[in-house]
């Protein structure tokens, strides 16, 4: 296959199949091995009974110095793709051309022997990763320095903390300096200080012309590190392009599917007065349309419908928005925010809680709605986390905080004559 000068990986029409059925898989395996052994030609690029495509018609190119993110839900074929690129699994149809040494940052530290010292394991692991004796000797100090294992160098790896093991594994792998680096969910490990060190190392590696393929569920990481991204879904390429676009689309899709597919945990509804009920809670956008998906920065209206069989004086409406990690992001009470909203209610009606700018981090949120009377602790009808909506990124710059209020920045000089 022809490769352009600056292309390091070219994947064309790549297919890979697996078999779901254990017995049949044994049968096919025996058959294929026999045919391979006898040199018979056969078409392995079609599906037989119980087989499925783990990867189907995948095409992409990677150039020198580029970083490609591979995203997608579990079981979409990401790891299989890495294994094929690495030459561990052969393709069933299509082809993969690779220029240069491939290094894998997959499950770093695989192959460490617990009884051997750090020093011995560096030699062992370095050799497994394809370094020569001289290369290991030349980079030995840099590896030890990077892993920051200090006096543990001559202690058996069994005595290391898990963090140290990971650091050592990563240090060896990154110093193997391949032309192409495959990383599968590895940057999520280790402490923050080490993670930052790794990012810097990877950035340096790329500046020097190294190419990177990063498989990760951490969208933030993919956005920060990768130019382009590949979205795999059921083994097929759902999108390939600029990281920002692909990641946004993927997140949008995930949120939507989460809303459709996920069932609410058994919501807690506590009623202290059968005559007073919250009948419905709706999420509306600026135009009044009801939905459950809202972009960051848009307006959100939470509408509480109620029905009262008696007069409720000094009613209080409470709304809390809770993340899926159970952190209360927003908790507002009409009794405090708008004491004059209504002196009393009876019959049925609605109340809107309006967030003019929905400045919440993209993700899923639960909504709690409470209708009370007179004070905050007198709840008549309480729907704890009974509703759900999602905030989508939609082109906003990445947020790492939970809440991004509309803030102002001021500046001024502290020394006379200083300029701002």
């Amino acid at each position: 296959m022809e490769l352009a000068n600056d292309t390091v990986i070219k994947v064309e029409g790549l297919h890979k199949k697996f078999c779901r059925h254990l017995r049949r898989s044994m049968f096919y395996g025996t058959l294929d091995v026999t045919r391979d052994m006898l040199g018979w030609r056969y078409d392995g690029g079609t599906l037989r009974q119980h087989e499925f495509w783990s990867l189907e018609d995948v095409n992409f190119e990677l150039k020198q110095g580029e970083a490609l993110g591979v995203i997608g839900p579990n079981g979409s074929g990401k790891t299989t793709l890495l294994r094929i690129l690495n030459g561990i699994f052969p393709p069933d149809r299509g082809s993969v051309a690779v220029r240069g040494r491939i290094g894998a940052l997959i499950a770093v530290g695989a192959g460490f022997h617990p009884n051997m010292t750090g020093r011995e394991n560096i030699r062992l692991n370095g050799t497994i990763l394809g370094m020569t004796r001289d290369e290991i000797a030349a980079r030995f100090d840099a590896i030890v320095d990077f892993a920051d294992i200090g006096e543990f160098l001559d202690a058996p790896v069994a005595t290391y903390s898990s963090g140290m093991t990971v650091r050592l594994g990563f240090a060896i792998a990154i110093h193997a300096v391949p032309e192409i680096l495959l990383a599968d969910e590895v940057l999520a490990v280790g402490d923050l200080r080490f993670a930052l060190k790794c990012y810097r190392k990877i950035a340096e590696y790329r500046r020097n012309g190294g190419a990177l393929i990063l498989v990760s569920h951490a969208m933030q990481l993919v956005r920060n590190v990768c130019h382009r991204s590949l979205w795999l879904e059921h083994g097929r390429v759902k999108a390939l392009g600029e990281t920002q676009e692909v990641c946004d689309a993927y997140e949008q899709d995930t949120l939507q599917r989460g809303l459709a597919g996920a069932r609410l945990e058994e919501p807690v509804r506590i009623n202290h007065d059968p005559l007073v009920r919250i009948t419905k809670v709706e999420f509306r956008d600026a135009g009044g349309a009801v939905g459950d998906l809202f972009p960051v920065g848009a307006q959100l209206r939470v509408r509480i419908h109620y029905a009262c069989g008696r007069v409720v004086t000094k009613p209080n409406f409470s709304i809390s928005l809770v993340t899926v990690e159970n952190i209360i992001a927003v908790a507002n009470h009409s009794l405090f925010d708008a004491p004059g909203l209504c002196a009393s209610i009876a019959g049925s009606g609605w109340v809107d809680f309006v967030l003019p700018t929905l400045a919440l981090k993209p993700g899923h949120y639960y909504c709690t709605a409470i209708l009370g009377e007179g004070s905050l602790d007198n709840n008549l009808d309480w729907h704890e986390r009974a509703y759900r909506f999602a905030v989508t990124a939609d082109g906003w710059p990445p947020m790492s905080g939970l809440f991004q209020p509309a803030a102002r920045w001021d500046a001024g000089p502290t020394t006379p004559g200083g300029t701002v």
């Binding site: 030609r41 052969p90 993969v96 062992l124 497994i128 300096v177 032309e179």
Partner: protein, 297 residues
Amino acid sequence: MHDTPTIPPAAPTCAVVVYAPGARRSTGFWRSLAVMGVNIYRSRELIRQLFIRDYLAVHKKSFLGFAWIMLSPVVAALSWFFMNAAGVLKPATPDAVPYPVYVLLGTTLWGLFIGFYQSATQTLTTAQGYILQIRYPHEALLVKQALEQVVNFAAALGVNLVAFLWFGVRPHWMILLLPLTTLPLFFLGAGLGLIIAVLGVVATEFRRLCEVGLGLMLFITPVLYTPAALALSPRAQTVLHWNPLTHLIEAARSTLLNGTLPDPLAFALSALFALAVFLVAWRLFYVSEHRVIEKLF
């Protein structure tokens, strides 16, 4: 801070590797053998490191350490001596070789053969944990596995030689040919083992069948008894005659003890058979190792 190595520019100078379906199948037989030979040569350091890891590091966590390697041959030798001294086992042996010497050497050689077989069956499983992560020539693993057996055999042979001196038997100078005379045992053992390493993953029946078969082979090979002991049964003689292991083990044992090769033609044919099995197995391993790895885990 130390200098960080720079990444070699992924240059047009690097060769392009293409992975496509059936690439290995369409590689010629001799060429595939050559490719694997070159891979093994290039993996010398890897073999050394893996040997250190799997063979030497195991003994780090024991008080006796490497003494364990000697222990089992010593126990084996003592048990044969005991049975012989107790009069349980005193069959006639050719050339007046004491029976304990005869049986000790025979079982050591048989152990080498079985060792080659078993270690070869584990060629792909020995690297669990990183075989799915990192690409390297797996044939290096076979060599590492076989090396472990050779070291075990050397230790056992050392114990045997001490025992021989005790019985007043002096090994012939042709003991120096042992690497040559035991080579067919490697071919046959490792060949069968590789075939099982491949087929045993696809279907476990093959592994079990082969193990039962080898258990039976011990009884139709003159290891525990001498061919002379079966002189009265022509049928048993025929079975023994057609068993290549008979000739391979006889040759190794006889050259060591007496400096003679009892049946050179039978030995040559058996050795050729062993080589053929090995070449077929080697090819099988080459064309199907990927498929096996896919199904391994």
